[in-house]
Amino acid sequence: MTSVFDPELILYTTAIGLITIGLAGVVMSSHLFRMVLALVIAEAGANLMLVLAGYRWDAVAPILTSLSEPAAMVDPVPQALVLTAIVIGVGIQALAVSLLIRIRQRYATLDRKEAAERMDSEIAASMGAARDVSQDAPLGERPLPPIPADQVNMRGGDAP
């Protein structure tokens, strides 16, 4: 390479940067619509990474132009994979967006924590049980560690 910049470095940095930014956005954003957008970014990075895996120096696109002198081509298999992955991606995106529309209609919020809170209290209300409002407890169904016998009364609340 005579160039100042290494194309390998540029391309890999772009792909990995997109994946990282997208996943960081999914983890960190509090607005649900931003989460979908971050997913789109991460998907773009993953697609670029796959196409990079099939790149070959000084090769032509995988379309045959003459039978007599076949030139070196880039690997067509990752390209075919990415072709389907892009179309699946837009289907997933539409599904996520329609879920968001339903969440907006039902809970009138798009904040991640608020929507989870309202969903949680609705589920608790439909079961007829009081909701555990502790901020320390996980929102999922992960069981809490067993309470030692001498601390049962200090924890208060729902201990037997």
Partner: protein, 228 residues
């Protein structure tokens, strides 16, 4: 606190991926199956575009799975959105330019969509790209005329017919004693429009299915009511 954890996670992930990518030999693909396919694809499938011969020949079952994933996504999005029709008055009416452009572009977009689908084995393009353009062609008049509706029954009929014919072509190959979805009728006319056997038929099925699915998805999305 949560943001710090997220940043740490993202940084660690990026570092890990960079380390992994540093070990890769850029520019020299390690997979040998690609060169093998390039050597035999023109004779085995008759397609000049090797990506097409991978999508519809060597990895056709993968494409079938992809179509079913897209079908599942479209159906579940339709189920989630439900059948809430807006009254026509709530949407803003398209202007003159949008109205005329929608009517004017519709035949052109249909033509280019089918062109891209039918030349999928010769040039870049194919069922996925052409299907998206077909969906856009049907969606553009919908934007201009808010009252207009797409006929969902017809769309699902087209979609089901296209999906069934994709599987039917695969079963025909089995009847001939070949593998499921193996290309049939491969002539020796490389580079012609009528070549590559059943691949253009498969791509037509893919294009119609993708187009019908995306068009019904978009029209369902535009018909849901906006919150006030």
């Amino acid at each position: 606190m949560g943001n710090l954890t997220g940043l740490l996670f993202a940084g660690g992930l990026g570092f890990m991926l960079l380390t992994l990518a540093g070990g890769l030999d850029f520019g020299t693909p390690p997979m040998l199956v690609g060169s093998e396919i390039q050597a035999h694809a023109p004779q085995q499938t008759g397609a000049v575009n090797i990506v097409t011969s991978v999508v519809l020949g060597y990895r056709a079952i993968d494409t079938l799975g992809e179509l079913s994933i897209l079908f599942a996504a479209a159906v579940s999005a339709g189920l989630i959105l439900g059948r809430r029709h807006t009254t026509a008055g709530t949407q803003t009416k398209g202007g003159f330019i949008l109205y005329t452009g929608g009517s004017l572009l519709f035949p052109l977009m249909m033509t280019i969509g089918f062109y891209i689908i039918f030349h999928g084995h010769l040039t870049p393009g194919g069922g996925f790209q052409g299907g998206v353009i077909l969906a856009a062609a049907f969606f553009l008049p919908l934007l201009a005329r808010p009252g207009a509706r797409l006929h969902h029954k017809t769309l699902s009929l087209i979609e089901g017919f296209a999906g069934a014919s994709f599987i039917l072509v695969g079963l025909l190959a089995m009847m001939e004693g070949k593998a499921f979805l193996q290309p049939l009728l491969v002539q020796d006319t490389l580079g012609q429009l009528i070549s590559a056997g059943t691949l253009p038929l498969l791509y037509l099925a893919v294009g119609l299915k993708v187009g019908a699915e995306l068009a019904s998805l978009l029209s369902r999305l535009i018909q849901t009511e906006a919150p006030q």
